[in-house]
């Protein structure tokens, strides 16, 4: 790209990041622009790596779910759920029905809070701070439900290999039903207000289009795929947990623009509310965990539909109590890469929004830390210093 740049005087680079007010987390996008039009994009990641795949083989199967829960604060149920399913797949364990229902309840609660978080941020990005504050206010009800049933607003520690750690008692149910009613009502109001607003429509429609063919070629998942008419959802396509026993719709939009992705997320909140109600009503009696005697040598795949798409975990076991290899792939890993095609042809003003439309989660995408001779090579402070240094270099370069 740099050679090309030298040859064309009209092309400029607009850097976004690694630290940027529009981003919650560090990521570096180099937009190559001609006038106002984005013609290419280069993505640099690696500012947020913590080495989970490196650390995991040193931990026991009981400890690994706690480690992967820390990959991300927003999908902190998806990673452990996929991870314990990989362990169960490897060992051939059948999870008791009650545990399957409890898993789904926590998982769908997480989807509601994550989608509301995104709607709020998207509103903030386009200058609709009312949407941001409303969405986050409604999200608070979900966090309180989490605190009630898991003891924590985030990092719920709900899953363990073979089942779940905590039961939901009869006394805990009425507040959850009440919260669901409230969230459903408020989400409909928010959805109608957002989807009917002519300015929001004008701002989001036709922006950052990812076609179905591109979605398939880049193997994107979740709302990013479903907003492009690529009809995939792990909850339906790969029956697991209690999903085959509840009724819900998969929201699919054909347009592929930012508006379609927003619509998919907003309507999915309503579906999640439906799933949680059914699970609470149908919750079967019985044990909440199966006993695991050993994890035999072999391999297992576990995956689940996180708010952003499919979370994928692969575990290889050598018959000991630790994984030999543990591969983690978060949905953003596939979704962020597809930005390269989604921003091309758009304007600079739309680029930041398009980049945010996949609901990127950088914590999930990157899980590596730089170790050398047994020591952490870059501390957080040093990374910060490197970043400041880089910003300083750029400042000088652009002020010339």
């Amino acid at each position: 790209m740099s050679d090309e740049l030298k040859n064309t005087k009209t092309r400029r680079i607009v850097p976004i990041g690694p630290y940027h007010p529009l981003q919650e987390e560090p990521e570096f996008f180099k937009l190559v622009v001609e006038g106002e039009t984005v013609v290419d994009l280069e993505i640099n990641i690696g500012y947020n790596h913590r080495g989970h795949e490196f650390i995991s083989p040193e931990l026991t199967y009981d400890q690994v779910p706690f480690l992967v829960e820390r990959i991300c604060g927003i999908c902190s149920n998806s990673h452990p759920l996929a991870c314990v399913q990989a362990i169960e797949d490897c060992a051939g364990i059948v999870v008791p029905p009650r545990a399957n229902y409890l898993r789904v309840i926590v998982h769908e609660l997480e989807r509601i809070h994550s989608h509301l978080l995104w709607v709020g941020l998207a509103g903030h990005f386009i200058g609709y701070n009312t949407v941001w504050m409303w969405a986050w206010k409604y999200r608070e009800a979900v966090l309180q439900v989490f605190e009630n049933i898991c003891g924590n607003r985030n990092h719920y520690a709900a899953n363990k290999p073979g089942g779940v750690r905590r039961d939901i008692t009869k006394e805990q149910m009425p507040p959850i039903f009440a919260a669901m009613d409230e969230i459903e009502k408020k989400t409909w109001m928010l959805t109608n207000a957002v989807l009917d607003d002519p300015v929001i429509r004008a701002r989001l429609e036709g922006v950052g289009i990812l076609t179905r063919e591109q979605a398939f070629a880049w193997s994107v998942t979740g709302p990013t795929a479903r907003g492009s008419g690529y009809d995939i959802d792990v909850r339906r396509d790969f029956p697991h947990c209690a999903y085959p026993e509840v009724k819900f719709d998969i929201i699919v939009c054909q347009e592929g623009d930012v508006f379609a992705k927003a619509k998919v997320r907003l309507l999915e909140i309503i579906e999640s509310v439906k799933i949680i109600r059914q699970c609470l009503e149908k919750l079967p009696d019985g044990p909440i965990e199966a006993r695991i005697d050993e994890v035999p040598a072999g391999e297992g795949i576990g995956h689940t539909e996180a708010p952003r798409g499919e979370v994928f975990h692969y575990i290889r076991s050598d018959g000991s109590n630790r994984p030999l290899r543990h591969k983690v792939r978060a949905p953003s890993y596939m979704n962020i890469a597809s930005n390269v095609v989604a921003v091309r042809g758009g304007s600079i003003a739309d680029a930041a929004l398009t980049l945010a439309a996949v609901d990127p989660c950088y914590c999930c995408t990157e899980r590596m830390a730089a170790f050398e001779d047994g020591r952490l090579k870059h501390t957080g402070q040093e990374l910060l210093r490197l970043s400041w240094q880089k910003t300083e270099t750029m400042k000088q370069r652009y002020s010339r």
Binding site: F54, G92, D237, F312, R316, F371, L376, K377
Partner: protein, 150 residues
């Protein structure tokens, strides 16, 4: 449910199929056939690439291509092996953009070569002064006890 498996066997008779359970198939193929097999699963059968896993084993570097058959709910995992003295596996990135990042990551962390990749620079450490010869996910990478003291 398994028409893809039957067709795969027909086209690639050298495949060694292990069925872990009805939803998890592992297909071991010679590495020369990888591109044809991946093209068959993605283009012909409409499967999505979940991700690749690179593993350093005693026999060599093993690379797993996890393909998700969303229509039938089955995972087809292609397994190829590259010997340690010749760790090369043909890159898929020029026809299949979903493999672009993960091939860079496997090259960076394990040291597998992917000839034909259009942009083989480090994915995670391009902005640091990390020594590119150090491969943290190799078995011979030195793990010391002190690293947890930090």
């Amino acid at each position: 449910m398994r028409e893809h498996e039957a067709r795969f066997k027909e086209i690639f008779p050298a495949v060694d199929i292990y069925e872990h359970n009805p939803r998890r198939l592992y297909l071991r193929i010679p590495r020369e056939q990888l591109t044809a097999a991946a093209k068959f699963l993605h283009n012909e059968c409409g499967m999505r690439l979940a991700i690749c896993t690179g593993i350093d084993t005693r026999e060599g570097f093993e690379v797993l291509y996890h393909f998700a058959d969303d229509g039938n709910g089955v995972f087809y995992t292609l397994k190829v092996l590259a010997p340690k003295d010749d760790p090369r596996i043909e890159s898929q990135a020029n026809w299949f953009p979903a493999t672009g990042w993960i091939e860079r990551e496997m090259h960076e962390l394990i040291g597998i070569e992917f000839p034909g990749h259009p942009n083989m620079k480090p994915l995670l450490t391009s902005d640091t002064d990390w020594d590119p010869d150090k491969r943290p996910l190799r078995r011979d990478y030195e793990r010391r006890a002190e690293e947890h003291e930090n």
